[in-house]
Symmetry: C2
């Protein structure tokens, strides 16, 4: 364990951590070192009771009356407004609905319809697959649009008058690199293009300020740093200045101005509700509400500072103890240009990841060769990071990754 | 209570009902007469425990490992295959995903792309709003399609070579009228059109045999007769013969042939999975699984027979006791042409519905003047129907609907 401090010293860091009590909001298995909250957030203590209440008292006792008595009808807006402060949005600009993929579709099509005469959707190659796939699907609708992919560093110079909308993920799911939201948004606006930010790996992990960046549109995931549970409903953001002009192509009844008039004519709701589609998933929203509530009274600046410390120490310790084992850091070192996970490429990343999991250190693998470790400052301790590195060093120095039997892969981002 | 049998006689009907024990699969409030299972199904006894297990053991203990250990990744297919026998489909032709609205969008666009050169989407006016709205949204994508609405009785003669796809609800949400799936499907096919059946008010309520009717495509709701809970995920059906040619426009990563390869190129999955989009909503699917499981070992023919008896008696009793109170039956009397709810128009339908609810008889109101009572043969008793009619007669004969204070409306289909 050359180059690592001893556990007592690390525990002092945890003792001194002003955010240390936040971990008590979660139920984490005792023996697990969970570094995959960027893929699926941990279970908040309050979630089970809240969903049980939605099932037993609301659904069971109130039945159809739950739509009014328990304000199910307002749930999408209520939880959206709780997410808003985490991303620098106003409460009425965010709504919970559908999945990230479906929300991307809504916003890309809406943006294209607001920029008629332009034919390009711009993104980067290697963006999260669903972003690329959904954008591709939109261009196959037969409206003459095409998807153009250029590396992130060439995005700004590639935005021209033919670009209708730029679709980028703020923090890259694989590398952890964070793009310059303000600069790229400004570049898009300078050419008259709209921009959609995918906040899946940002919301709840780092400071995000959509308004300070004058962002137009955004989507994000409920089940990563927002701790909403597996397959939690997603959210979307539309800047207020665009509410009147943009329209969702998914004109479901919940986006209607008066859904219970049951008229044949579609009139979109005036505000963000026009981006709703079907009946809201109440049980999923109940869980997400508690997930988002884990951020109550939490200052995002403090959270980001802790994420930075966790990252720095993890990197320092990996370099000190595993420096000769062939890990290539692919996450930017500079805290201002990264999110809250750290990724290494390694030719044996898959068996190494499996060997870690077999020893109760849960990170994840991204094909073909990336080992990804998520740092979720609400509940990751310095001790967790230290133990993860100790375990990694042991796996590498004794080539345990080459000796273990490991299961086939199959896990979700 | 002129013209009604006495309660003892009605209870004998319940005692003799071969399906009477099915009600034990649900937790219904003692004092409530719930005739709104066509809007939101009742709570199955097993649901709370099942969702709690998904939250506490699967999510809480297994965290990201749940995707494989608890087969979250297979949940959409698993529950889809449970729904299949209820609608006359093969197990691999049904999948649980998204909302009815989103699924309609996928299938309408897929159908249009499979019928290039045709420009018409055909539906009926007064179809459930989200069906009309979604179809309208598709025609506004700028591909030169238009939505044509003709009354149900004129649908067959209106299908011509310009119709790409016919979108109809099998059982009408308001009138309860059931369309002739076999005849209309055959008429569509005769002109080379595809057909999409919305089964929201059919699945789990009446016998549905998509294959016997040679149906192409279908969607349906999880939260009505399937008892999946408020805003439960929906399902969709694509006949196997269309799996290779139809493609969803919502090309999210879960519809990819190999989502975990994280490649930039979209290759649709070979089977029904290509109609998946985003990450599946695991908690919602866990509840839906128990909802669908309430049909275990239940013969749909027996269920339909009970629905018919409930309907006949309700109608007979309303006509006997409330004949002079101005209710106009808008549901077909012939059992072969209706679903499992009964609807009356009445100029005071709204306050009458509120007066019923105030007396613990829960039906619902559909603007502008429809009172709708759902008969859910899994748990509706003859006694429930009798008590509902007794209460209705009291409300009408004493004009209680005109005296009550009632709340403003605001409930969901």
């Amino acid at each position: 364990m050359s180059g690592l401090p001893d556990l007592a010293a690390v525990r002092k860091l945890d003792d001194a951590d002003p955010l240390k009590t936040l971990r008590n909001r979660f139920r984490l298995p005792e023996t697990l070192i969970y570094l995959d909250g960027n893929s699926l957030g941990a279970l908040p203590i309050a979630s089970a009771q809240s969903v049980l209440e939605a099932i037993e008292r609301q659904w069971g006792n109130n039945l159809i009356g739950g739509w009014t008595k328990d304000d199910w009808i307002g749930a999408s807006r209520r939880v959206g407004s709780m997410i808003a402060p985490l991303i620098g949005a106003q409460a009425h600009e965010v709504v919970v609905a559908d999945s990230t993929s479906v929300n991307l579709f809504k916003l890309i099509v809406a943006a294209l319809q607001a920029r008629t005469g332009r034919s390009t959707v711009l993104t980067e190659p290697g963006n999260f697959p669903t972003d690329v796939y959904i954008a591709g699907g939109v261009t196959r609708l037969g409206q003459g649009h095409h998807l153009h992919k250029v590396p992130a560093d060439e995005i700004v110079e590639s935005i021209d008058e033919d670009v209708a909308v730029v679709v980028l993920t703020h923090v890259h799911y694989r590398t952890g690199r964070k793009l310059d939201m303000a600069a790229i948004t400004a570049a898009a606006h300078a050419k008259g293009a709209l921009i959609i930010w995918d906040l899946c790996h940002s919301a709840g992990a780092i400071e995000v300020d959509l308004h300070a960046c004058d962002a137009d549109l955004a989507v994000g995931c409920g089940y990563k740093y927002l701790n909403g549970g597996p397959g939690a409903p997603a959210f979307l953001f539309v800047a207020e200045r665009l509410h009147a002009t943009l329209q969702s192509p998914l004109t479901g009844w919940m986006g209607h101005q008066a859904p219970f008039d049951f008229s044949d004519d579609y009139v979109p709701a005036r505000g963000i509700d026009r981006f709703l589609c079907g009946t809201p998933p109440i049980l999923g929203i109940a869980a997400l509400e508690q997930g988002v509530a884990t951020f109550d009274q939490v200052n995002m600046k403090s959270l980001a500072a802790k994420s930075e410390s966790l990252f720095s120490l993890l990197l320092e310790w990996v370099e000190a103890s595993c420096g000769e084992h062939g890990f290539e850091l692919i996450t930017p070192r500079d805290a201002s240009t990264r999110g809250s996970h750290i990724s290494f490429n390694h030719e044996h990343a898959f068996p190494i990841c499996q060997a870690l999991i077999a020893r109760c250190v849960v990170g994840d693998f991204r094909a073909p060769n990336t080992l990804r470790l998520g740092l979720t400052p609400l509940y990751t301790r310095f001790e967790d990071v230290w133990r993860a590195v100790v375990t990694l060093e042991e796996i590498m120095s004794e080539r345990k990754w080459d000796k273990d039997e490991y299961r086939k892969r199959g896990r979700v981002t």
